[in-house]
Amino acid sequence: MTYEEILKALYEETMVGNAPRVLELTNQGIADGMTPDSILFEALIPSLEEVGARFERGDFFVPEMLIAGRAMAGALNVLRPLLADTGAETVGTFLMGTVKGDVHDIGKNLVNIMLEGAGFQVIDLGVQVPPEKFVEAVKEHKPDIVGMSAFLTTTMPMFKVNIHELTKAGMRDEVIVMVGGAPVTQEYADAVGADGYAADASTAVRKAKELIKAKRQLAKA
């Protein structure tokens, strides 16, 4: 197969969630001398972007998005150590968790997939994450963004508690806070003092990139 053919096949097989084939093609590409950058940015990320776009339009459904994400994750396991060697600047690190008292994770997982698909390094704390765990994880991983998910009107108030705890620990200014989940609105995100909100997974990725860009520019100025 030519590089061109491998990239095309990777794009297509990722989109249909054929994890074994994506892994095979990734290994083959590397063995043939393709760069990990090329595989990531010319096949995997565009494929996941297309999956996200189709999902947003209602043409793709949850299981399709999940298997596409899983196919990409398999390839990333191969590529990540190689990418680290090239020292490429990461898009950003995203710490994610569903708040305390809430066990819903489908939305959060979809956002994770889209973030990874866009090249973010995602650290997932899982569900029922208490405030102290968010704080500890921010300390430990120093993410660009911490994302909090809540599916219930009754667990949404945890956003405010978490943000308060970050402030108390003196870390609020070091990290961008994004919130989301079915009942959350922009108005509510503003009220609890979050930096960003998005209504769906694709928008969350766009928003995350914007917020990081703005913050990095501010740091340079």
Binding site: F61, V62, P63, I106, Q128, L152, T154
Partner: protein, 284 residues
């Protein structure tokens, strides 16, 4: 085992040998922006429309949830309950995870309410069960605890057992306990519904308890959700589910539930099935 819910004038029975109890879920502002704004402004008129539609759709019980962020939920919930009770004689399922709201709702309610919900977490049980006991209500309990939703049916059974022991300790009869065996999304996990069905089976075998759940979860993220839900409920009913929280406006699902009642021997001689058919016929 018969679980009895009552309004001021009507009794609804949940059990393995009686028709399935449909709890209409629509009186809930989650994800309904306009409804939230109305409620925040003190306008409860949408509730009347929702009540009417759920009753027309064949709901046996009405779930009332007033979880509007940044409002006084206890006050709102108690006003909503009074309003619903003035419009229908169906019993109510009082839905909140804020203790003060449950307390206010129970105080405002006339009859024997279903309280939605608690989990197997010790601190939740300690707060909610005294209220349930005081108001002689029925409690719905999710088969999960502080560690999250158990991945296996066996683990959910263990949490159910813990809930059963605690409920007994508070002197609440087991017919006043309804377990939610947790319906997860089949679109996110291919085995999810099989685990739910196995949980229902185990809980029925071991404790004979009544069970209810938010049934539409199973089809989240999939196309043609109604058809998936309409297939799921009869399977769950055959396994031992005795109630579900669902949008009663979806005719396809309601019909499938009533057909399952008939097939499972819980609608003797097809009395309900035939009268529902007749009611649909144009009058001669």
């Amino acid at each position: 085992m018969h679980t009895k819910l009552r309004s001021a004038s009507k009794e609804v029975i949940m059990g393995h040998d009686v028709p399935f109890v449909i709890i209409g879920e629509r009186i809930n502002p989650t994800g309904r922006k306009k409804f939230q704004e109305q409620l925040r402004a003190g306008d409860l008129s949408q509730i009347e429309i929702d009540v009417q539609q759920q009753v027309e759709g064949g709901a046996d019980v009405l779930d009332v949830n007033m979880g509007v962020p940044l409002t006084d939920e206890p006050d709102l919930l108690s006003r909503a309950i009074k309003l619903v009770q003035s419009k229908t004689d169906l019993p109510i399922c009082i839905d909140s995870s804020i203790i003060e709201a449950l307390d206010a709702g129970l105080k405002a309610y006339e009859g024997k309410a279903l309280v939605n919900s608690m989990t197997g977490e010790d601190d939740r049980m300690e707060l909610i069960l005294p209220l349930v006991k005081e108001h002689n209500a029925v409690i719905m309990a999710l088969s999960n605890d502080e560690t999250g939703i158990p991945a296996t049916a066996q683990e959910r059974l263990i949490i159910t057992e813990k809930i059963v022991r605690t409920v007994e300790k508070y002197g609440i009869p087991l017919e006043d306990l309804v377990i939610d065996p947790l319906a997860m999304t089949v679109g996110a996990d291919t085995e999810a519904v099989k685990i739910t069905l196995e949980t229902i089976h185990l809980i029925k075998e071991k404790f004979g308890l009544n069970m209810s759940m938010g049934a539409s979860n199973v089809s989240f993220g999939l196309p043609n959700r109604h058809a998936v839900n309409a297939s799921f409920l009869p399977m769950a009913m055959a396994t031992g589910l005795t109630s579900a929280i669902m949008d009663a406006r979806t005719k396809e699902i309601g019909t499938s539930v009533r057909a399952a009642d008939l097939l499972l021997g819980n609608d003797p001689w097809g009395g309900n099935w035939i009268s529902a058919f007749r009611a649909q016929q144009p009058s001669a």
